[in-house]
């Protein structure tokens, strides 16, 4: 089975106050970027896994995001990239 490298991005759901994001937003304003708004900070997770094809890899990433990588009560996730790699 081929190997794939996936990147998964986890962010707080839009309705939830992202306190670190707010703090960084204030700092960016102090730096002179006064028009910056809606700064959100999340997690960027990369992993490698074996799968029969891209769909299978996608499916596994989806399940692991739902079960562990993101907490569906407070977070959204997106599988940003999945690409085959040489084992």
């Amino acid at each position: 089975m081929p190997y794939y490298r996936a990147t998964i991005v986890v962010t707080l759901r839009p309705a939830i106050l992202d306190v670190p994001g707010k703090t960084v937003e204030h700092a960016l304003h102090s730096l002179g970027f006064e028009t910056v708004r809606n700064v959100r900070i999340g997690k960027h997770i990369t992993l490698e896994l074996q799968a029969t094809d891209v769909e299978h890899a996608q499916q596994q990433c989806h399940t692991m995001s739902q079960e562990l990588l993101a907490n569906p009560v407070i977070e959204d996730f997106a599988i940003a990239t999945i690409e085959p790699i040489t084992p």
């Binding site: 939830i16 106050l17 306190v19 670190p20 703090t23 562990l68 990588l69 907490n71 009560v73 407070i74």
Partner: protein, 234 residues
């Protein structure tokens, strides 16, 4: 009654919980190891203590939920056994889905370690029967991620079912924004599951069990357990 206190890698209030439980006549505490897959047969209550299990990696409580012992804790709770999660223990219970909602980074971004006042919102639970309804307790908190969050429907259900057991209030028993130390929705400091056997709370009752150490307002959580079992066994 037999109380088991789970030690996860990174637990740091396990000894305090043991010490507090020992102060109460009728409780025999023992430690349980996170790798255990079976619980002692005569266990009456499990405490998930505070700390930073698994370094709080990914999210507080997210990894502890997969500890071997948690499968046994879940079965124990499913059979009606009493489970008390304090601080990190509360975070673990929400991550495990044994309690609704989640605990987010404190609204002001800082770790907060100080005494707060909380009101007993429901004294008809196995964990709070030693208190008066509406009694105000002085108990310390110590956490960076204690902002209770749940969707509006869940909050409404918790309120309607009297599942909010502890609420942050000021000295006059008012749940004000100023008395809310972390930005929790509805000033929620502790909740119980619908069945009434799993309680999670951010304040540390085990750190407020001797007047000499500042407050003994937390002792009631432990004496309530003894009352409950005396009542049940009669």
């Amino acid at each position: 009654m037999n109380v088991g206190i789970v030690i996860f890698p990174g637990s740091n209030c396990d000894r305090d919980a043991y010490y507090a439980a020992r102060l109460v006549a009728g409780i025999t505490p023992q430690f349980l190891w996170h790798k255990d897959t079976e619980l002692p047969a005569d266990l009456d209550c499990i405490i998930l203590p505070g700390g930073f299990s698994y370094g709080d990696y990914l999210r507080s409580g997210a990894i502890a939920r997969f500890s071997p012992i948690m499968r046994a804790v879940r079965s124990f709770a499913d059979e009606g056994g009493l489970v008390l999660g304090i601080c990190n223990g509360f975070q673990i219970l929400t991550e495990a889905g044994l309690l609704p909602g989640a605990l987010l980074r404190n609204a002001h971004q800082r770790f907060v370690c100080r005494n707060v006042t909380v009101r007993v919102e429901n004294n008809a639970t196995p964990f709070t029967s030693a208190y008066g309804q509406g009694q105000v307790l002085r108990i310390p908190i110590a956490h960076g991620e204690g902002r209770y969050y749940a969707d509006p429907e869940t909050i409404a259900r918790l309120e309607a079912n009297r599942q909010v057991v502890f609420r942050y209030v000021d000295a006059d028993s008012n749940p004000t924004a100023e008395s809310n130390p972390n930005g929790s929705l509805a000033n929620i400091a502790g909740i119980i599951n619908e069945r009434g056997n799993v309680l999670g709370m951010m304040p540390h009752p085990e750190r407020a069990c001797q007047a000499l150490l500042g407050s003994d307002d937390g002792l009631g959580v432990f004496t309530s357990l003894v009352h409950y079992f005396a009542h049940v066994s009669v």
